[in-house]
């Protein structure tokens, strides 16, 4: 092989590699990302059972029920719609009624959202960004200051 051919082979190899990597990235972006919904949007949206999504809003007052062991259910609301969430595990330290949460999981046939992770805000100055934006969009945002 001449020098030029060799260089072409190396560059070609690198290109093939980059193409594979971009293909994988694009595929993963399509498959492995999850959309964020507020309760009212979720009620209206068509979601296939089994599709992973994130649901955020405020924990509705008086809906937190502790069942057997570590099973917990609560409702997430944006004051327009409300979705019941079933979760099994330990809730974050700052999980409280009427506070912002983001949950991730799948929607069950009966409309209950089965969450496998629940995130709450990390200090009192901080509201999950998606929830804050969602509440601002529906005009229900109350500035704490």
């Amino acid at each position: 092989m001449t020098r030029k051919q060799k260089r072409l082979a190396v560059i070609g190899g690198a290109m093939v590699f980059l193409a594979l990597a971009s293909g994988l990235t694009l595929y993963a972006l399509g498959q492995k990302t999850s959309y964020f919904y507020m309760p009212a949007e979720l009620v209206a949206a068509q979601i296939e059972p089994g599709q992973r999504i994130r649901l955020g809003g405020l924990v509705e007052k008086g809906t937190v029920l502790r069942g057997e062991g570590q099973d917990i259910s609560f409702s997430v609301t944006d004051q327009v719609g409300s979705v019941t969430v079933a979760y099994s595990g330990i809730l974050p330290d700052l999980f409280r009624e009427e506070q912002g949460v983001v949950t991730e999981g799948t929607l069950r046939q009966d409309g209950v959202f089965v969450a496998d992770s629940v995130l709450a805000k990390h200090d009192e100055n901080y509201m999950p960004k998606e929830v804050a934006d969602g509440l601002k969009a529906t005009g229900l945002w109350q500035d704490e200051d």
Partner: protein, 664 residues
């Protein structure tokens, strides 16, 4: 008074940074040695002023001077002294001051240790360093003044975010910033080379120690941050692919690539333009990380109270430095001479492969981190890119790279013999295969993937040992000759082997935790027991406890091994920080060898029990231990005679050697 002194010192530092930028730059252009000489003293004086300013803020924290808004917002008179000091950078304003402190520190280091550089290069490097300092000092004045006063002064402060009240805050941010900001020196060197339009192998030799130093600190900062999150947040996770974690991981990946490409440039004078570009990109990624953390555009566990004006300001700095340096690169890069031809199968070829994989991995992580921003800007949809995305893209990129690692150091420069190297790695491959078999056979329920992962880790570790053994000629020459050769190997060879060995250790820890972790959740009442991974945990009691600025419910557990012997006690608690009324989970952790038993308390249940979550984390400590070994590798490499400042020392040593031999 001291607070005003600090503020004033910072203003002076800003003025001096402008001088440090302008005067040496003009001097280098006109060839005026006196103007060029201004850079060094300006950098040192600027550093001294920022130190003064930093001490002033620290003094305000130590004295709990709540008339300073920043102290009032983030401190409390009852807070332990350690957290009063570390609290200085446990908030946005103070951490920016730390950022600038470290930036000027590196500027002063350049001034001190660059005596042997060509005068114009030195002047240009210090000038760019001064410009970066000026930009960030301006940012502090415009949006984040840590010295702002409030009147009347409140009697008590609002306390520091409890999650930050930990020894981790003393170590993690300073280490991380030393890494982040350390890459600014590489950036300044790259821009200076572009301004001069000249770059050679000597340039790589000057840049490599700075890259190594920054990389060592960044490695430590990331490892420390990961361990901190692991024990403090109480979820038992050590890496969340959180945007802010990615922000620190991105410069690490491209910095690692830079470290390797600089070797090629130094030894073979090839890959010049590429190395220059990597130096620019690595610091650009550091700036991007700063922007992502400060602007709050992404949801993250690192929630600084955010302010849109800050985000915009940093975005402007980002655009200015990245845009400016890349434009300069586009203009000048073509005029730089290329050199050093090599075959695809060679040490250079292996290092190019390393760079290809590392930069592609960097790009993947970058895309995953920024994609939600892009989608929201274009369609308004909110999406999240989490661990599943990174596992699918990052892992397949890294595994082939790890497989290739043992080959690299064994290949010859210019033209390598792949078959010969493969033959010499026969024993290593055999060892790795044996590890796979043992894992499959002995560890119950281990999947094939886990066993292969363990094999990969062993392959890396054995490969590093093989590299050293082969270079010393063990097996080929007599034992005495081999020992003498081994001792005589350059430190950089030891550094490489150590760092690659550390990579293997981390890989082993990650594979073990991901595939062999055991998690149990149960509702427990005093006297109840729970068994996980052969250990039986008995819940003793829950009792109240009062700390200096918190109250907590401590759950006491006793644990027994498989034979029923009592091993020790674990205390796990739910803590409430009184000033902020903020609860935290303090996990109870028992260390057994490199593995840990991790106990986290949940909420009490209606029937008098408490939810308890127990993890068995096999070999989890190896994840961070590997990081420490990588740092050690970097340090050994940094001490290589070749890189030591003051090259004449080498000559003296060579002269000294026969005398030593005579003494024996």
């Amino acid at each position: 008074m001291i607070v005003e002194t600090g503020h004033f010192a910072l203003v002076l530092a800003f003025a001096l940074a402008l001088v440090q930028f302008a005067v040496p730059l003009v001097g280098a252009r006109t060839g005026d040695a006196r103007l060029m000489a201004v850079g060094g003293p300006a950098a040192v004086a600027g550093f001294a002023l920022v130190v003064l300013s930093f001490f002033a803020l620290t003094a305000a924290y130590v004295q709990s001077d709540f008339s300073v808004a920043n102290v009032w917002e983030n401190s409390h008179s009852l807070k332990p002294m350690l957290y009063k000091v570390t609290g200085v950078w446990g908030n946005h304003e103070g951490s920016m001051l730390l950022w600038v402190l470290i930036l000027t520190f590196f500027g002063a280091l350049v001034a001190w240790f660059s005596g042997n550089l060509p005068a114009t290069l030195r002047a240009n490097v210090l000038s760019i360093q001064g410009l970066i300092g000026a930009a960030f000092l301006l940012f502090i004045f415009a949006t984040s003044n840590p010295f702002a006063r409030i009147n009347p002064a409140p009697i008590e402060g609002r306390d520091l975010n409890p999650i930050l009240q930990d020894i981790g805050l003393a170590v993690h941010p300073p280490l991380l910033y030393l890494g982040y900001v350390g890459f600014s020196v590489c950036f300044s060197f790259a821009v200076a080379a572009l301004i001069e339009g000249r770059i050679d192998a000597a340039w790589a030799r000057w840049v490599r120690p700075w890259t190594l130093a920054a990389w060592i600190f960044l490695t430590g900062g990331i490892a420390m941050g990961s361990y901190w999150a692991y024990y403090e947040l109480g979820w038992g996770g050590w890496w969340f692919w959180d945007p802010v974690e990615n922000a620190s991981f991105l410069p690490w990946l491209s910095g690692t690539a830079l470290l390797h490409s600089a070797i090629v440039m130094e030894k073979r004078s090839a890959l010049k333009i590429w190395t220059l570009l990597l130096a620019i990109l690595t610091f650009s990624l550091s700036l991007l990380g700063t922007f992502l953390v400060r602007s709050g555009v992404l949801t993250s566990v690192h929630a600084f109270a955010t302010d849109p004006s800050r985000g915009l300001f940093i975005l402007a700095i980002l655009v200015f430095f990245i845009g400016g340096s890349l434009s300069l690169f586009a203009l000048r890069a073509s005029s730089l001479t290329q050199g050093g031809l090599f075959q695809p199968i060679s040490r250079e070829g292996a290092l190019v492969l390393n760079n290809l994989f590392l930069t592609t991995a960097t790009a993947t992580v970058l895309i995953g981190t920024l994609y939600p921003l892009l989608v929201e800007a274009v369609t308004g949809d909110k999406i999240s890119v989490g661990a599943p995305f990174f596992n699918m893209t990052f892992v397949p990129l890294v595994v082939p790279l790890l497989l290739a690692v043992p080959f690299g150091p064994l290949l010859a420069w210019k033209r390598g013999d792949l078959a010969g190297v493969a033959q010499r790695l026969f024993g290593t491959a055999g060892g790795a295969l044996l590890a796979v078999m043992i894992a499959l056979f002995f560890i119950d329920g281990t999947g094939v993937l886990a066993a292969l992962g363990i094999g990969l880790a062993v392959w890396l570790m054995l490969g590093a040992v093989t590299d050293l053994a082969l270079k010393a000629g063990i097996g080929n020459v007599g034992a005495r000759v081999a020992v003498r050769r081994f001792v005589g190997l350059p430190r950089s060879v030891f550094g490489t082997a150590l760092a690659h060995f550390g990579l293997g250790i981390t890989t082993l820890g990650i594979v073990a935790v991901i595939s062999l972790e055991i998690e149990e959740i149960a509702v427990m009442r005093p006297g109840d027991t729970l068994t996980a991974a052969g250990y039986t945990l008995r819940f003793e009691e829950i009792s109240p406890y009062r700390g200096p600025n918190y109250t907590e419910d401590q759950g006491r557990f006793v644990y027994f091994d498989a034979a029923g012997r009592r091993v020790g006690e674990i205390v796990s608690s739910k803590r409430l920080y009184t000033a902020r009324q903020m609860p935290t989970t303090e996990a109870g952790i028992a260390t057994r060898g490199f593995s840990q038993l991790y106990v986290s308390l949940g909420d009490p249940t209606a029937d008098g029990g408490v939810v308890v979550r127990v993890w068995w984390k096999p070999l989890v400590l190896l994840i961070w231990l590997g990081g420490v070994v990588m740092m050690a590798g970097g340090t050994v490499s940094l001490l290589d005679r070749r890189l030591r400042i003051g090259a004449p020392a080498a000559r003296r040593e060579r002269v000294a050697r026969p005398a030593e031999a005579a003494a024996e």
